[in-house]
Amino acid sequence: MSTAATINKGLFRGLNLRQKTILLISFMSLLLIAIVTSSVFIDGGSLSTDFGSKNLAPSLDHPFGTDWMGRDMFIRTLGGLGLSILIGAIASTISTLLSVILGLLSSVGKIEDSFVSWLVDLFLSIPHLLLIILISIGLGGGATGVIIGVAFTHWTSLTRVVRAEIKQLKTQDYIQISRNFGKSKWWIAVKHFMPHLFPQFILGTILMFPHAILHEASVTFLGFGLSPHEPAIGIILSESMRYLSAGYWWLAFFPGLSLLIVVLSFDMIGENLDKLMNPKKAQE
């Protein structure tokens, strides 16, 4: 990721690292926002079946080709990605909220701390995918099942980070000095702890996105997630499997590549935001 920010030619010439990073983040965000907004405005007509133009290879009319029912793969992919991003957004927000609550709870006392650690260990000891499938089926599948399934399995790592961060902060000299200045617990929590924790929350949410999207896609691919009539990436990929051997490579290639690009964009945004929010690099 870091190589992208240090390119010093073409569009990036004459900008410092900070400006380049901002440029990169805005470009990636624009791409993702464009995908989501355009997926919202897809009308049903463009996804209708048209057997006159089925199984067409990629062309200017159909940049991603068409499937066995004559539907345009570009529009289907766009719709699928939009859905994936929305599900990822909801799932990782819920997940972050859970980890914030549990992380703060662990700082209250010893019993609460052991309880949270126990809960984290419990959830980590079960394979992610298995747990998502279980929760998803238990909730009757569909979007709700997948969202809750993903949200309830991805909070563990961020909880650990928040818990460790608070533990480390509590022993710092400047926290004790603040207490000696007569500041209240609440004041210290907001003014001293939040600047350290806030970047973790933001980064945690953004870096959870790719996980959430990939898990959503894989659960759906395995048939435990979204229902087949929705234009999800997982559905597209699992359907196209049957046609790969017949030489219709574009059915899996373009949707898969787009999913990869979306996931990488989120990863890049997350990593570059980290650079911006870290004061050690503020004046570069």
């Binding site: 000299d173 400047y174 000095i177 000696n180 600047p195 004061p279 050690k280 503020a282």
Partner: protein, 203 residues
């Protein structure tokens, strides 16, 4: 006004006393030196006096009354490592004004420049940070200052400058100072009186 520490005892482990029945008294405007070997408990005593260490026996009081927790502590401790005493996510002007709004006089006497205020802590040197730590601790409500090896990390000229400013201010504000250091020459120049920790510590 007198800061009195009476019968201060402290230990980490059973039967392993660091401090035992230590008595110390510091008057307003007095500059008292404290000398001791490494690991003899100087820093521990400083932390007890300024309320950072709570698990001790004995009493710390100002004119007979104890120090209430939760409000501005009139006994302020300055640490040996100023870079640990500032929140790395705060700008210098927020760090400076955390306890009280520091007056221009104090900023001038410590030579704190205007453009330092908009920097992050990692963009200043140890000596510069220590000036901030001192300026923010010298509020009108501060009655006693505990200086735990505060100029160990700077060169001799800076050391002299910093101490000159401190002495001016504490004289004007009638603040009592406990100077902890290894350097005998510095102590003799600064302090009205010097005590050796091993002489007052009964272990």
């Amino acid at each position: 006004m007198y800061l009195k520490a009476e019968n201060i005892s402290f230990r980490y482990k059973k039967d392993n006393w660091i401090l035992r029945n230590v008595d110390l008294s510091l008057g307003s405007g007095e500059v008292l030196g404290l000398i001791g070997d490494s690991g003899s408990g100087k820093s521990t005593l400083c932390k007890i006096l300024s309320g950072y260490e709570k698990n001790y026996s004995g009493t710390v009081s100002i004119d007979g009354t104890g120090i209430p927790p939760g409000i501005y502590n009139p006994i302020q401790l300055i640490f040996q490592h100023p870079e640990k005493a500032v929140n790395p996510k705060w700008k210098m002007k927020d760090i400076l004004n955390e306890g009280h709004v520091v007056s221009q006089d104090i900023l001038d006497s410590f030579g704190i420049k205007k453009n330092w205020l908009h920097r992050w802590p990692n963009e200043l040197s140890g000596g510069e940070l220590q000036r901030f730590a001192l300026a923010r601790a010298l509020s009108p409500k501060t009655k006693f200052l505990i200086a735990d090896e505060i100029t160990t990390m700077v060169d001799a000229i800076t050391q002299a400058q910093i101490w000159e400013s401190i002495l001016d201010i504490v004289e004007e504000m009638k603040i009592g100072v406990l100077v902890v250091s290894h350097e005998k020459n510095l102590m003799n120049r600064l302090c009205h009186d010097v005590v050796h920790l091993s002489h007052i510590n009964n272990i």
